[in-house]
């Protein structure tokens, strides 16, 4: 990723921080968005700078429809182009289906799906212009498998995977490759929204008998989002230690 300009949404903690760390280690300059976690954002910025890379933290509420384009514009203004976009920002809450109301559903879609859509739309213009771009959407194993998980969260991730496949087909001819990672349970990720006994069931089913580490997601993102990826496109890669794959 040497010399690439990478933009990661939700980079202040968990998987996002792992992605920023690996990207910087691989030579990329890293911009990332954060919302409420100032301490986490500061930590990520320090990690990236300590690795000798440029860093551009951008505070933004991506649920606001205007924000994604502003974020992309800010990064492009600073660095000229975005080579790799990682749509990682997401949230989840453990609410049973019958208690999910319209507002809950819309709220989760706004960040997990619409924000990713708007980020793609804003960033893809510059990528097509430069005939090069990589987009990696962080999805979840709930997006395409029937496992215990909040319905609105699973729906948002399923939709994100559909977006990934279709967008890959549309922009691939212009040098922009789009893929997704279906993440299992990761330390620091949405693990805290999963009751402990469900976490145990995951571990029991996981061939590696452990949760993923944020940097392990970062490694896959770094490859998919780098120049080395020239032919993987429109694919959802399961990253779950062999739990459902």
């Amino acid at each position: 990723m040497s010399g690439l300009h990478v933009l990661v949404t939700g980079g202040s903690g968990g998987i996002g921080q792992g992605i920023c760390t690996v990207a910087a280690r691989e030579g990329a300059n890293v911009a990332f968005t954060w919302h409420g976690n100032k301490a986490g954002a500061d930590a990520t910025e320090k990690i990236v700078r300590d690795l000798g890379r440029e860093c551009l933290p951008v505070q933004a509420d991506l649920r606001n429809p205007d924000e994604p384009s502003k974020v992309v514009a800010a990064v492009e203004q600073s660095w000229g182009a975005i080579d790799t976009l990682v749509n990682n920002a997401a949230f989840s809450e453990a609410v049973p289906f019958i208690l999910i109301d319209d507002k809950d559903f819309a709220d989760i879609m706004e960040l997990n799906l619409f924000a990713a859509f708007r980020m793609c739309r804003a960033a893809v213009r510059g990528m097509i212009r430069q005939k090069y771009g990589r987009i990696v959407n962080i999805s979840s194993i709930t997006g395409s498998r029937s496992i215990a998980g909040p319905v609105h969260y699973a729906a948002s991730k399923g939709a994100l995977e559909g977006l990934t496949r279709s967008l890959a087909h549309e922009v691939g001819p212009y040098g922009v490759l789009v893929n997704a990672i279906a993440a299992g349970i990761f330390e620091g990720g949405l693990k805290t929204t999963i009751p402990e006994h469900h976490q145990k069931r995951y571990l029991d089913a996981c061939a590696l008998s452990r949760f993923g580490q944020p940097a392990e997601c970062g490694e896959v993102v770094a490859w998919l989002g780098s120049r080395r990826n020239t032919y993987i496109n429109g694919t959802v890669i399961f990253l779950d230690g062999g739990t459902l794959a």
Partner: protein, 516 residues
């Protein structure tokens, strides 16, 4: 002179016994403590224990004020859980093999570790026999905790007691070993049984207590002046309320523990329950009907008969005094004998009021979720119970007036607790769950009057001995405590002595410090 009538009268008519036999058990003589046979009998819709000591005669004690409840409660039973290790062989029979012997029917849910017998109070209701000279050494403490963890693996709670444990010079070192030592994470909650004086009056101690992560298990018998002189020997009401203020200020998690004696403070049961529900820091209320044992208890009432409270009486008094907390909410905790523990778990609604779970969950699932443990935890059974109750409330054609409030409250709890916008650690989730729920327990200790070996067999409240044994609480209090060489170095040894299992936990030499 010959009475002709007597020559022709038949034999005198046979009389029935005054009570219907229900079951046979073993107990002890309240006077000499010898093991004797006992009968559980029914009379006047109540349940009684009758027993006869060859030397000291006949004894009868009421064990349940409600025969129907008593019978029904016996059906609330589940297979016990085995500990990883037993310490003693089945040699002499219960209760002379403690413990735990291989025949004991339940593992340890609530271990109690007495770290001293020094106390600055001499409470008439105290169930122990403080001699004011024993302080456990750190080595003995570590051994006891190590062996407890070896026997149980993980424990939901552990209670440090005494004496007054906060007076132990190494109190905080002991706590640190339990919570942050080699077994960190294995003992989920460390409760300190205390009168509360150091928390109330020593700010630095209270702050350190809070920082240490311990729970105060606060002896709290009354809300009014004039009762503590009877139950605790001196007036403590101001100190107790001062302690509550510090608990509120420092946000110290607390268990409210009233010891209740009929006629002394039984009129306050409802008020004490309401007080515990109001106190945000209170995670549970444990009501202990007074057991007449220990140095204080033995002599508290000349005759304990009029002062005993049975489990159904406590339920009834709470219902009568609160006006809303129905006796039907109470169910025996299946991990212990039904006559030892009953409980109700409650959930705080969005309007701030607590609603007992039995009001809105399937009662069979509820009992399963309570199985073999003292503290309700987030697991498959609990989740299934909650999800089923949500689904049933939501799908019911006839919606109760509270249904919307219950559903909204459960949802707000889930959104607050399992939400990635505010990620919580597992410990924080447990704390938040605890903050949203409360438990009300009735813990009925036995004394020499009502000691029932059948209840001992399934006891899950165990004293942790420094030599690695675990002694069922009422067995220890009634039969072993006064011969424990830590407290009574001159007492004759227990005879017959329990026989240890050769390959069981290594029983260590007791090295407790004894000061004269």
């Amino acid at each position: 002179m010959i009475q002709l009538d007597s020559l022709f009268a038949g034999p005198p008519p046979k009389r029935d016994r005054d009570a219907a036999f229900f079951s046979y058990t073993r107990s002890i003589c309240p006077t000499c403590k010898k093991l004797i046979d006992a009968h559980i009998v029914l009379r006047d819709d109540k349940v009684w224990m009758q027993k006869k000591c060859p030397r000291h005669g006949f004894f009868e004690v009421e064990v349940s004020s409600d025969a129907e409840y008593y019978m029904k409660s016996l059906s609330y039973t589940k297979p016990g859980t085995m500990p990883h290790r037993f310490a003693t062989k089945v040699e002499h029979g219960c209760p002379e093999d403690c413990g735990l012997c291989e025949d004991h029917l339940q593992h340890t849910c609530s271990p109690i570790l007495e770290i001293n017998d020094v106390c600055d109070l001499t409470c008439p209701v105290c169930i122990v026999r403080n001699q004011q000279r024993y302080s456990m050494t750190f080595d003995d403490f570590k051994s006891a905790v190590d062996l407890l963890v070896a026997a149980e693996g993980e424990l939901p709670i552990m209670l440090l007691s005494g004496g007054e444990p906060t007076l132990h010079p190494q109190f905080f070192e002991f706590c640190d070993y339990v919570l942050h030592g080699p077994h960190e994470g294995k003992i989920k909650r460390l409760l300190i049984s205390t009168h509360g004086r150091k928390i109330a009056q020593n700010r630095a101690f209270a702050e350190k207590f809070k920082a240490g992560g311990m729970y105060a298990s606060l002896q709290f018998d009354t809300l009014k002046a004039g009762v503590y002189p009877k139950t605790r020997g001196v007036e403590l009401i101001d100190m107790k309320m001062q302690c509550i203020e510090v608990i509120k200020e420092l946000d110290i998690p607390t268990v409210i523990v009233p010891t209740v004696s009929k006629g002394d403070n039984s009129d306050e049961l409802g008020a004490l329950v309401e007080f515990g529900l109001e106190l945000e820091q209170c995670s549970s209320i444990v009501i202990q009907p007074m057991a007449h044992t220990g140095d204080g208890g033995d002599g508290y009432h000349a005759s304990p008969a009029g002062h005993r409270l049975t489990m159904p009486e406590v339920h009834q008094l709470i219902e009568e005094q609160t006006g809303w907390f129905k006796r039907e909410y109470f169910h025996p905790v299946p991990c212990s004998h039904p006559s030892c523990y009953t409980a109700t778990y409650m959930f705080r609604m969005d309007d701030g009021k607590y609603k007992p779970l039995p009001e809105f969950v399937n009662i069979r699932q509820y009992l399963d979720a309570m199985q073999n443990r003292a503290i309700i935890r987030s697991d498959n059974q609990l989740e299934k119970m909650i999800l089923d109750s949500i689904t049933n409330l939501w799908s019911a054609t006839k919606v109760g007036e509270d249904s919307d409030l219950i559903l909204a409250s459960l949802k707000s709890f889930l959104k607050d607790t399992f939400n990635s916008r505010n990620p919580l650690s597992a410990a924080d989730i447990e704390r938040r769950t605890e903050a949203r729920s409360k438990a009300l327990f009735i813990h009925n200790f036995m004394d020499p009057w009502d000691l029932d070996v059948a209840r001992l067999k399934k006891c899950c409240t165990h004293y942790v001995m420094p030599d690695g044994r675990l002694m069922p609480g009422c067995s220890y209090n009634n039969l072993y405590r006064h011969k424990d060489e830590r407290f009574f170095p001159d007492a004759e040894p227990v005879s017959p002595a329990p026989v240890k299992i050769e390959n069981g936990p290594a029983l260590v030499q007791i090295t407790g410090r004894v000061s004269q």
